[in-house]
């Protein structure tokens, strides 16, 4: 009996050891952050107060943090789906950008705002999703057709997409608001109210929107697809050994394109949600680095849906807290970038160690 209990507790202990390293990385990086605050001559308690206040303190702060986490989760979920097929999607930033462009273009097209039954919200969301899928699909197509490494193609496509946003908001023929004076900013018009994502709480203070529900539903779907569906199994097969999977009769090329298109769709949806849920108009740099953060969230989760959600929440709160720290305690928000960078590097560097711990030392 005791032997049985011991045996069943072993994997848990190993798993715990595996989780302890990212945890240590987070704690260590936060400690470095605190040291930096002290070194810059600012008050550490004030900074912590400001951080907590900005991250959770008010309904507004909490909602903004969760909204941020929603965007990061979506990119992260797309990432782990494609990663199951051994595809690394580095283009989240660009997929957010094209999603945002498509959603903005549709939301600003007059007939859309008049659509009934919530279609005014849904159509731009779908448009953004499709645009992202297309953008990710290009990389998949290039991989199958020309053998182009998807790391390189998604990265390059990302930069092209970011410059497309720039192009769209610079040109009045595209999405730039009508230029009434030389002071007119290079931005699109704000999207009409009916196309905005509805709030979730009814509290006008809270920016929390239904994106959260969409995100949670998709997280469950992703988990089910990855663990319980034939499609998930096929992705895994093609990721482990492409040749063997093809020999076994799986449509290898199609699967690769679909996997990257899905990853892109998640990014595009994240872009549409960011636009319709919070930002309301398109401007340069609108993707805010969420694509890269989302990739990091996806990678650090080691393929687990729960891991994606947890990582996204953590980074979401970190960013919000950082901004508040700058405003209220005079500590540059760049500090949160330092913490985030350190966490990413430490966790990425400790992968072998984690693997060893999880497998038990051999």
């Amino acid at each position: 009996m005791t032997a049985l209990a011991l045996a069943s507790s072993l994997p848990d202990r190993r798993r715990l050891a595996g989780i302890s390293i990212p945890f240590a990385a987070v704690v260590g990086s936060m400690a470095v952050g605190l040291l930096l605050i002290a070194a810059s001559g600012k008050s550490v308690p004030d900074a912590i107060d400001a951080f907590l206040d900005g991250a959770f303190g008010t309904a507004f702060a909490f909602g903004a943090s969760v909204n941020r986490a929603v965007a990061l989760s979506l990119v992260g979920l797309g990432f782990i789906l494609a990663f199951r097929a051994n595809l690394t999607n580095v283009g989240g930033e660009g997929q957010i950008a094209v999603g945002g462009i498509a959603a903005a273009a549709l939301a600003l097209w007059p007939p859309i705002a008049g659509l009934p039954l919530g279609l005014a919200v849904i159509v731009p969301l779908l448009g953004g999703t499709l645009a992202g899928a297309f953008w990710g699909g290009i990389a998949g197509f290039m991989k199958v057709k020309f053998g182009t490494n998807e790391v390189i193609s998604t990265l390059l496509l990302g930069f092209v997409a970011l410059l497309m946003v720039y192009w769209c908001v610079q040109s009045t023929a595209l999405l730039r608001q009508p230029q009434t004076s030389s002071a007119t900013l290079p931005e699109s018009l704000p999207i009409p109210d009916p196309t905005k994502l509805p709030g979730l709480t009814g509290d006008s203070e809270s920016p929390l929107h239904v994106g959260l529900i969409i995100c949670l539903v998709l997280a469950v779907v992703t988990a089910v697809v990855l663990q319980r569906s034939t499609f998930g199994l096929r992705l895994r097969a093609i990721g482990l050994n492409e040749l063997a999977a093809r020999r076994a009769g799986m449509p290898g090329g199609v699967l690769l394109v679909v996997a990257l298109a899905i990853a892109g769709a998640f990014g595009g949806l994240a872009g549409a949600i960011m636009l319709q849920g919070e930002q309301y108009y398109l401007k340069t740099g609108f993707s805010s680095g969420y694509g890269f953060d989302g990739l990091v969230v996806g990678l650090l989760s080691r393929g687990s849906t729960v891991g994606v959600l947890a990582g996204a929440l953590f980074f979401g709160f970190l960013r919000s807290g950082g901004i508040s720290m700058e405003i209220m305690a005079g500590v540059p928000a760049a500090l949160t970038l330092v913490i985030q960078g350190l966490i990413v590097i430490a966790v990425a560097g400790s992968v072998i160690l984690v693997d060893k711990l999880e497998r038990g030392s051999r």
């Binding site: 497309m164 760049a334 960078g341």
Partner: protein
């Protein structure tokens, strides 16, 4: 017209220089199988510490030294993580870019305070006797900061090293066939380490060029994507030194045109010119402009017996 052309040449070279330096260094590392997405971070770190060193010591040459040292430190950690710890090179690279942006911004605010535009001692310009008086190309090519001439020399050195030395041969071997290279007695890890350090050194010179030789100050995120552009140049250059340098000049020219074309009354969207380098690199990797093969083991860590 002639004057416009001279300005165009000068700004092309000015914009292409950091790309050429960084890309030629990155090329060595990629040929050995290590992709440094952290190139952007290395350059930004170098630009900051170069500016800091130059400002603190009053000597721009010491500043260049600081820049190179700082970039080498980043490169050493990158090499340790990618080669010894077999970490995911992309994630490490992204991590470094986030860290470098955060750390340089933070340190800049702490040391220089607010958004000051403190001028730092810059490098002198050196006119090559005789040649600098040439019509229109003279000022563009032969009246440049010392670092430009040294940098061009370093790039030639890299070409020689990669193609005509046993180190270059080892680099290419571990990048394409690490297993065979290992069996042939070539130390895979050590070769990759050195190659990444070469990248760090060149990224250091590139960063120093931007802050000390070109702008004479540090501004937040001053590299502004030059590192990524250099990565695109390596891809468009097909992992070949000559073509990569040509790609950098082309990218520099495309960026320079955004200021030149409007002056000449030609209306091309700036966004398109800025996008051009990435589009060209995309076409290149798609095989539209001749077949390009990245080093076989690019981004793949090596572990003996696996």
């Amino acid at each position: 017209m002639e004057e416009t052309f001279a300005i165009f040449l000068a700004s092309t070279l000015r914009l292409a220089m950091p790309l050429m330096l960084a890309a030629s260094g990155e090329l060595v590392s990629e040929r050995s199988g290590v992709l440094n997405l952290s190139l952007e971070g290395m350059m930004l770190t170098a630009a900051f510490f170069g500016a800091l060193g130059s400002w603190a010591t009053g000597d721009p040459y010491l500043g260049v030294g600081c820049a190179i040292l700082a970039a080498l430190c980043v490169a050493a950690v990158q090499a340790w993580l990618s080669v010894n710890l077999r970490a995911n090179q992309l994630v490490v690279g992204i991590g470094f870019n986030i860290l470098a942006l955060g750390a340089t911004t933070l340190l800049y605010r702490i040391i220089f305070g607010g958004l000051s535009r403190e001028e730092i001692p810059g490098l002198p310009k050196l006119a090559v006797p005789g040649l600098s008086d040439l019509p229109f190309a003279g000022t563009a090519f032969f009246q440049q900061s010392v670092i430009v001439y040294v940098g061009l020399g370093l790039i030639v050195l890299i070409w020689v090293m990669l193609n005509h030395t046993s180190f270059g041969l080892a680099v290419r071997a571990v990048g394409d066939e690490p297993r065979s290279a290992d069996k042939a007695g070539i130390p895979v890890a050590a070769t990759r380490w050195r190659a990444v350090l070469v990248t760090g050194f060149m990224a250091g010179v590139a960063g120093a060029f931007i802050s000390i030789a070109d702008i004479h100050t540090f501004t937040e995120n001053m590299t502004n994507g030059a590192g990524y552009l250099a990565l695109a140049a390596v891809i468009f250059g097909g992992w070949n030194v000559g073509r990569t340098i040509a790609a950098c000049l082309l990218f520099g020219a495309a960026t320079a045109l955004q200021f030149q074309l409007p002056a000449m009354g030609i209306n091309v969207p700036t966004a398109f010119l800025l996008m051009l380098p990435y589009l060209l690199a995309l076409l290149a990797v798609a095989g539209v402009v001749g077949r390009l093969e990245p080093p076989t083991s690019l981004t793949l860590p090596f572990q003996r017996g696996k």
